[in-house]
Each structure stands twice: as structure tokens, then as C-alpha cells.
């Protein structure tokens, strides 16, 4: 015989296989989700969704008999009262028989539909949209740990004692060692007391003394046994095993900047809102905690709550740099970049004072972009331009930002004209580098 210690060998031999399995399940789901996206409103990201996937991908079909046909017999243990020839009603829910055949016709037969929860749906939706630098940030961030269940162990703190498992083992041990129960001892005691008081005599006609002697001995043995075999022995104890698992710091802040000057009409604000919503949902997938700061601006900027941000009315000119400054102020005050992943989303119609554009670009390159993980600028096209085929004159802001974006991958910019543009834009903005469509 030889003993080989394999513990030093690499574990996770199956990680490759596992990844293959996930890939397989995912590629079909992703396909199905894509189909599904076409038919749903972008606001409706919260309801769960029925998704039909072609079932071949993760199925392992075999030739097997249909339980709803023919005659079969089986041998079962533990008969109590049945006699040969008795009949037993079929458990309900099984009686259908041949039900699967009915659904067999037509196109749908080889796919199966199931419902994805909202979380699963969004996971897939956002799957390949991981933000740039996020990984890097994660690696940089200090890891915290979270405890997770992992089977049972024989030692541990009292708070993790698993009562059910422990008592089950205690029961087995007591049964194996023949430890008399309380009831058995009490029974003996009662009989002894009644014999001694003369209330009863031994049924088999023996002398009372003999029986008393015998009982005392039995009782004594039983008590000794109970004393030597404890009810709960340390070897019975089982504890829930809980292992720490490292988790990256998971908090982010998202700044939503929007121009609310008169040139932005309700429609345009609506579009901006959907964009912000989607971004928020996405961040919420990746971080445990996402804080959102809303900053609106005309020629002045201020931090407001969500409702005011989207619904409040304000008139005035447009000075974009005020919003950027306000954002920097809030960040400096409350969200130090070494504790938060900072994301900035700016929505505007592109109008700005010409001389302010320069200030904006300077703020961006010198302060905001170095600090933020990512900044997205979306320009909402006014209604009148949406159906025009003529190339649009570039806005002031766009012209200012474009060179910055070219030099700096941390800034992305896109134009949105109507609701159905939002999602593709969003996908573009946050597409994982190198991921193929």
C-alpha cells in the first residue's frame, strides 16, 4: 500500500468545466434577453420577465420511459396494512398522463420558457457592460470579508451550535449505548415505591423482598448508566461552519448633472431621466451601496432632491461650469475618491455660453476626470431635430468636449434623440472593452 498526499495539488480542477457550463447557459439566455428587450419599455426594468431559451444548450436528454404510459411495478419497504389486491389512489397531480404530448406540436416544442427574476434579468442585461477601470478600482480598494455558510464542523463557538444535528447525534449515541430514558427510570421507581408500601405484590408469586432487591439493583444500574452516559456528550456537538469570504468595498456615488434651463423641454428631461435611471440600476447591480447626488443648473447650480431635479421648473441662462464646480464641491465635502467609486453623468442640450466651454473643459481634464471612474455625457437632441435628416450643427459643449473625450477614455459622449436610442447608447457607453457584440 502507498499513501499519496494530493492536497498540495491544485484544486478547482473543475473550474474550467464550471465556466464552460455558465458560458453555455449564459449565451442562450443573453440571446433570449436581447430578443426580449426589443419588446419592452425601457422604464420597465423592475418586473420579472418570461424568457424563452432554446433548451438544447444545457439539457442532457436521454431515451427514457414516459411514466404516463404502460404498466410497471416496484418493490417498496415498510408495508403496514396492505394486503395483496388492495388498491391505492394515485397521488393527485400525477394523473394527467400524456400531458406533455399536447404541447409537443408546433414550433415551441423544443424550447422551454421560464421566468427570470428581476435580478437575474438585470444581471444578464448588464452583464457585458462592466464599467472601465472598475476592476482596477476593486483591486485597489481594501477588501472586507463577509461570512458565509459552509457545511458543519465539530468545533466552534456556542452561538453557532446546530441543535438539530447535535441532538440527532446524541440520540443515536444514547440509543447505541442503551441509556435508559427518564420515563423508564420513573417507571422502576414507581413500582419500587408501590412494592415497598405494600400496595402491590409481584405478579409471578415471588417473595416481595426478592423483587424489591431485584428492582433496586436494576434501578441502581440504570442510574449508574445514566450518570456514565451523558445526555449530551462533547462528541455529539455539531456547529454550523461559517467561512469568511473576501469582498471588495462596494460603494459608489453617482452624480447626475442636468441642464434645466428653458431650452430643455419636458420631453428632453424625460429622456435624460431614463438615462439616469438606467445608469443607477446598473450601478446598483455592482455596488452594495450607491448614493446619488442630483445637481441641476441654469446659470447657477444647486444640489436638489430627485423630485425637484426632474420636475422642478426654473428659468435662466446656461452656464455649465457652475454644475461641475458644484459637483466638485460636494465630492470634496462628502465623497472622498479613495472611499467611493465616483461616476458622473451629465445630460444637456449642448447649449452653453461660448466662453464657459473653455472653463468646463479645464475643469474636466484637470479635476473631474482624474478623480472619477467614468463620466458620461449625453446630449439630448431637441424635438425639432429628431426627424431632420440634415446633419446637425455641433453644439458648443459638444465641440468643447470632443477633444477631451478623444484624449481621455474616461469620458464618453453620445447623442440621444428618442426613447429607443437610450438603451443602445447606454450599451455603447459602458461596453466592456474588447467585448464583441
Amino acid at each position: 500500500m502507498t499513501i499519496v498526499d494530493r492536497r498540495q495539488n491544485p484544486t478547482g480542477r473543475n473550474l474550467g468545466n464550471r465556466q464552460r457550463f455558465l458560458d453555455r447557459a449564459k449565451s442562450s439566455l443573453r440571446q433570449a434577453v436581447k430578443e426580449n428587450i426589443r419588446n419592452r419599455s425601457i422604464e420597465d426594468t423592475t418586473s420579472s420577465e418570461r424568457v424563452v431559451i432554446p433548451s438544447d444548450d444545457i439539457q442532457e436528454p436521454t431515451f427514457q420511459r414516459d411514466a404516463a404510459t404502460g404498466r410497471r411495478s416496484g418493490v417498496l419497504p415498510g408495508n403496514r396494512e396492505y394486503q395483496s389486491g388492495d388498491t391505492i389512489a394515485r397521488p393527485s397531480g400525477q394523473g394527467g398522463g400524456g400531458g406533455s404530448k399536447a404541447s409537443e406540436d408546433g414550433d415551441g416544442e423544443d424550447s422551454f420558457a421560464f421566468t427570470l427574476s428581476r435580478d437575474e434579468f438585470l444581471d444578464l442585461l448588464f452583464e457585458d457592460l462592466a464599467l472601465p477601470d472598475m476592476l482596477a478600482k476593486k483591486l485597489k480598494s481594501v477588501e472586507t470579508t463577509r461570512m458565509r455558510r459552509a457545511g458543519y464542523t465539530t468545533s466552534g463557538p456556542a452561538t453557532r451550535l446546530n441543535m438539530v444535528r447535535s441532538l440527532r447525534r446524541s440520540l443515536v449515541r444514547r440509543a447505541a449505548l442503551d441509556r435508559p430514558g427518564t420515563a423508564a427510570v420513573e417507571e422502576l421507581e414507581r413500582e419500587l415505591a408501590r412494592l415497598e408500601s405494600g400496595e402491590i405484590v409481584p405478579a409471578d408469586g415471588r417473595a416481595r423482598e426478592t423483587r424489591i432487591e431485584e428492582l433496586r439493583e436494576t434501578l441502581d444500574r440504570a442510574r449508574r448508566k445514566r450518570a456514565s452516559v451523558p445526555f449530551l456528550d462533547p462528541i455529539d456537538l455539531r456547529y454550523n461552519r461559517i467561512e469568511p469570504q473576501p469582498e471588495p468595498i462596494a460603494q459608489a456615488v453617482m452624480f447626475c448633472l442636468m441642464d434645466v434651463s428653458a431650452s430643455m423641454d419636458e420631453d428632453m428631461k424625460g429622456l435624460a431621466k431614463r438615462f439616469f435611471m438606467l445608469l443607477h440600476l446598473f450601478l446598483a447591480r455592482h455596488y452594495e451601496q450607491v448614493e446619488v447626488v442630483f445637481i441641476r443648473h441654469t446659470q447657477r447650480a444647486e444640489e436638489v432632491d430627485e423630485q425637484t431635479f426632474f420636475e422642478g421648473r426654473q428659468t435662466g441662462g446656461t452656464i455649465v461650469s457652475t454644475a461641475l464646480e458644484e459637483m466638485l464641491r460636494v465630492a470634496a465635502q462628502r465623497y472622498p475618491p479613495d472611499e467611493y467609486n465616483i461616476y458622473v453623468a451629465q445630460a444637456s442640450d449642448g447649449d452653453n455660453l461660448s466662453r464657459d466651454v473653455e472653463i468646463c473643459t479645464r475643469l474636466l481634464t484637470e479635476q473631474i476626470l482624474p478623480m472619477a471612474q467614468y463620466m458620461a455625457y449625453v446630449e439630448i437632441l431637441p424635438q425639432r431635430d429628431r426627424f431632420s435628416m440634415a446633419p446637425r450643427r455641433e453644439s458648443d459643449l459638444w465641440r468643447g468636449y470632443a477633444p477631451v473625450a478623444e484624449a481621455n477614455p474616461g469620458l464618453a459622449m453620445r447623442r440621444i434623440a428618442e426613447a429607443r436610442d437610450i438603451f443602445p447608447v447606454f450599451r455603447d457607453l459602458f461596453r466592456t472593452e474588447g467585448a464583441s457584440e
Partner: protein
């Protein structure tokens, strides 16, 4: 019986090291060889972590295996069950190779390790070496080589032809896993290289012949010889053929050589597992009886302490738990429990027979050689014949076994035989039938391949007791099968007794 004071236990306390392992193994093997007359393969104990055990588990218990997503699927399931605490890991995995590999987990206590060694390294191992079915179907000394070849070949193919192409073949082959065994033939292994060469030669000859014919004769055949040619073809292809995987490997017209080799690899795995399918009950019964006997003898010799023995009993009782049919934890007959009970029962019949036993088992009742009788049974039987031969009325009574008949044409289940004088034989027959390998998977044959016509592959499912195929699954399998065959496939369901056609699947219709 009581321990000699000078004997020191093999180990103390729960922790183990390589010394205690090796000392305990030697003591256990000595009992097995000297007292029980057992003769296992030499053993290699491999200590693994729980993570590695999970790994091995998911690769169908093989020490190495080719990469495939389905193992990942199994791994994900197992891991989830384990992490949530629903299920404990198997204590051991043993491979019937020579020398046999026995995996033991580092987290186990020494008492558990001793149990595992007695169970797997001795019990299973002896069974592997001596049981007829294993001897007929597997060659222990080539197992590890085959596994290595399978792995490197699949990986090489993936490199050369891409993962998707390899997976397409493997997926399809996996669906036919249960139909890759020669149940009717003598299953002795053929040398793969030889088979390969022979086939290549045959194909070349056929091609030359065809060329010759084409050049020299006008392709005009009399009408009646067409059917002759067809019959010849059927004979040449060995039809009807139950081993679908082998048929495809040899005769599928469009497969490349590497694809045929992949099919052969899957077929090898299928054949490797066939004895395990046929002897699950006996194999576990043998191993469980062996560990119980050996651990008890160790205790009696004072070689293990009471505490360790107690832990062993706890483990043992968990292994042989058998909930009754109306219990919510019931999930069929536990092969460990029933196997163990039958082994014990045989010992009882050999040593303390009742009148009933003498009537039922005249050749072994009271022969006074319980262990030799067991060894003979382990060598010569498989589950089905073992139950047919050795299930005693007493065991049927003790287990209160009864037969339940489910006829879909009837509105209710009907209780068949029960544990009474009139029922013993019927219960025994019904239980033995349940272990019949022919009953375990549907009987499906390749009946024809219209090579001169549209090249449609014809399969037939011989329907027993009206049990037809699950149509959805059947269609899925047929689609995979069609990919391997390259042309359309049909499957006819025929009643095995009346020959009546019940249903037809055609791959071009779905």
C-alpha cells in the same frame, strides 16, 4: 472477546497522520486477508481536500477526465448542496484500477478514515477484483491509461477543431451514454488501435471495390438483387445493433476519424460504468458488510477504542438508513442498506438456519462457512441474479417488502405480492426484475440504414409493458443522433410482444 491489556489501540482521538493511516491500513488488510480470505488489488490511498473531493465527484468519480460543460453543471449542483449543508460529501471514492486508487478526505476523523479504508480499499476493491461482471467488462490495468488518453485526445481535438465542434460530438454521444454497451456479446475489450486499423482497412477495401465496379461494369442491376444487396449490407453492419454508439462510430457516413474516436471514448466510459450499474447493490452490500465486520473485529481485539467504535457506529447507521415508503425521506431502496442486510442474512442462513431457510436454501443453509459463501456470491452474481438467488422470506418479512403495480390504464395503484407465504416468490421476482439491466434503460436498436436510398437511419424501440418513450426527451436525443448520423433519423416504437407499431418519431418532422 475482551481486550488484552497489552494491546495498544492503533490510534487515539480524532486526528490522524500518515503513520496512523498506514498502521491502520495494515491491520485492516491483515484481518481481511487472514481472517476473511479476501484478496483486493494493492491500494494507493490518496489524501485529498474537500474541495478536491467535490471536483472528483463532479467528474463522475474519475481521477482525471476530459473537459466538458456537463461536469461543470454537476459540480455547480454538488457544490450548492454541500455549501448549504443539505448534503455531506461522500466519504470516499474508489477507482477499480490496478493498483486501485482510494480517495480519502483530509477533514475526516481517524475513525472515519479507518471505516473508509475497510469499506473501499478492502470491500469494493475485493469486489472489483473478483466479481465476474467486472472481470468481463473492464481491464483494471488499462483504466488509468484510457483516462489519460481520453483527456489528452479531447483537449488536442479542441485545439485543432475548436471547442464547439468537439462539444457537438460529445453532447450527442452523452445522450446515448446508456446505449454504448454490448450487452449481448462477450464484452472483452478490443485493442482500440487494432480496431482502428481494421476499420480503416475495411473502408479502403470497400472504396477500391466500388471504383472497380464503376469502371468495369455498366451500373445496371437486376431488380431482385437489390434486396439481396440490402440484406448483405445489413449483415455487414451487424444489424440489428443495440450498441448505438458503436454503430455510429463504425458506420456513420460523414464523421471524421477524430469524431469516431470521440465516440469510442464515450463508449469506453459507458462500458467502464456498466459493471457498476449491474452490481450497485452487491458492491455496496459487500463493502458495507466488510467495513462492519472489520471494524467490529478491530474493536474486539482492542485495536480501536470504544469512542472510535461509537463514531463508526454512528457513521454506519447513517449509511444503512432505510426510510419506509411512506416516510417523507424515502427515495427508493438504499443499496447500502439492502445489500448489507442481505449479506448479514446470508451469514445467518449459513450459521443459524431455520427450517424455512433449509427449505429455501438447501445448498447453503447451515454449511458453517458464511464468509466463503459470501465470497462465492460476490464473485459469481450480479444484482439481479443475486436477489433472485438469495433474498430470503425472513428478510422480506423484516423489511415488510411489498409489490406495487402501477398500470396507467387502471384508475388506481394495485398492491401485488406482500410478505406472506403466497407472496415471497413474487416479491423476490419483482425485486430481481427491478435490477435487471435490460429493464434499467429502454431497449433501442438500430434496425436499418438506407445507404442506397435517402440514408435515413432507422431505430426501433421495443416497448415492454406498454412503457413508451418520453416524447420530448426522445426528440431531443434524436436530434443529437441526427447530427452524428448526418441524415434523417426515424424511431419506431413497437410492442415487444405483439409487434404492433405504436408511434413513430421522424427527425425531419421536428
Amino acid at each position: 472477546m475482551s481486550a488484552d491489556d497489552t494491546v495498544t489501540p492503533l490510534f487515539q482521538g480524532p486526528s490522524w497522520n500518515f503513520n496512523t493511516l498506514s498502521r491502520t491500513h495494515d491491520a485492516i488488510e491483515a484481518i481481511a486477508r487472514d481472517e476473511l480470505g479476501m484478496d483486493p488489488y494493492p491500494t494507493r490511498l490518496e489524501v485529498v481536500s474537500s474541495e478536491q473531493m467535490l471536483d472528483a465527484y463532479a467528474s463522475t468519480g474519475m481521477p482525471l477526465n476530459y473537459p466538458h460543460w456537463s461536469f461543470g453543471k454537476r459540480f455547480a449542483q454538488q457544490e450548492m448542496l454541500y455549501r448549504k449543508g443539505f448534503q455531506q460529501l461522500a466519504l470516499e471514492i474508489v477507482i477499480n484500477s490496478d493498483p486501485s486508487l482510494c480517495y480519502i478526505m483530509e477533514d475526516n476523523t481517524m475513525a472515519a478514515q479507518a471505516t473508509v479504508i475497510a469499506h473501499a480499499a478492502i470491500g469494493h476493491n475485493h469486489f472489483f477484483r473478483h466479481n465476474e461482471v467486472f472481470r468481463a467488462w473492464t481491464e483494471a490495468d488499462t483504466v488509468l491509461d484510457e483516462l489519460r488518453h481520453a483527456r489528452s485526445f479531447v483537449m488536442e481535438c479542441e485545439k485543432r477543431h475548436g471547442r464547439a465542434a468537439v462539444e457537438e460530438v460529445l453532447d450527442a454521444a452523452h445522450t446515448l451514454f446508456a446505449h454504448g454497451v454490448d450487452r449481448n456479446r462477450n464484452a472483452k475489450h478490443q485493442d482500440p488501435a487494432e480496431t482502428r486499423a481494421r476499420l480503416a482497412e475495411r473502408r479502403r477495401a470497400a472504396r477500391d471495390e466500388a471504383d472497380e465496379l464503376w469502371l468495369r461494369t455498366v451500373p445496371q442491376q437486376p431488380e431482385d438483387s437489390a434486396s439481396n444487396a440490402e440484406a448483405d449490407e445489413r449483415r455487414a453492419m451487424g444489424l440489428p445493433e443495440e450498441n448505438i454508439l458503436m454503430f455510429l462510430e463504425h458506420h456513420a457516413p460523414l464523421l471524421a476519424e477524430w469524431q469516431r474516436e470521440l465516440l469510442r471514448i464515450v463508449r469506453w466510459f459507458s462500458t467502464y460504468f456498466e459493471p457498476q450499474r449491474q452490481t450497485k447493490l452487491m458492491n455496496e452490500g459487500c463493502a458495507t458488510w466488510t467495513h462492519f465486520e472489520i471494524m467490529t473485529r478491530l474493536r474486539d481485539k482492542g485495536l480501536i477504542e470504544d469512542g472510535a467504535y461509537l463514531e463508526f457506529l454512528d457513521l454506519h447507521s447513517m449509511v444503512v438508513a432505510q426510510p419506509t415508503f411512506d416516510h417523507q425521506g424515502y427515495s427508493g431502496l438504499n443499496p447500502y442498506a439492502l445489500g448489507f442486510a442481505m449479506m448479514r442474512d446470508i451469514v445467518r442462513i449459513c450459521t443459524e438456519p431455520t427450517e424455512e431457510d433449509t427449505a429455501w436454501f438447501p445448498d447453503i443453509a447451515g454449511n458453517g462457512e458464511p464468509v466463503a459463501t459470501l465470497r462465492r456470491a460476490w464473485a459469481e452474481f450480479r444484482d439481479e441474479s443475486f436477489v433472485r438467488q438469495f433474498l430470503s422470506p425472513k428478510l422480506i418479512r423484516d423489511w415488510r417488502l411489498f409489490q406495487l403495480v402501477d398500470d396507467r390504464a387502471a384508475p388506481e395503484y394495485v398492491v401485488g405480492a406482500i410478505h406472506d407465504e403466497a407472496g415471497y416468490r413474487d416479491v423476490r421476482r419483482a425485486l430481481a426484475d427491478q435490477y435487471d439491466p435490460a429493464v434499467l434503460s429502454p431497449r433501442i436498436e438500430v434496425t436499418g440504414a438506407d445507404l442506397r436510398g435517402d440514408r435515413r437511419l432507422h431505430l426501433c424501440h421495443w416497448v415492454e409493458d406498454g412503457q413508451q418513450l418520453d416524447p420530448l426527451e426522445a426528440r431531443r436525443v434524436l436530434r443529437h443522433l441526427g447530427r452524428l448520423w448526418g441524415y434523417d433519423v426515424s424511431l419506431v416504437e413497437r410492442d415487444a410482444t405483439t409487434d404492433a407499431e405504436l408511434f413513430t418519431f421522424r427527425s425531419d418532422e421536428f
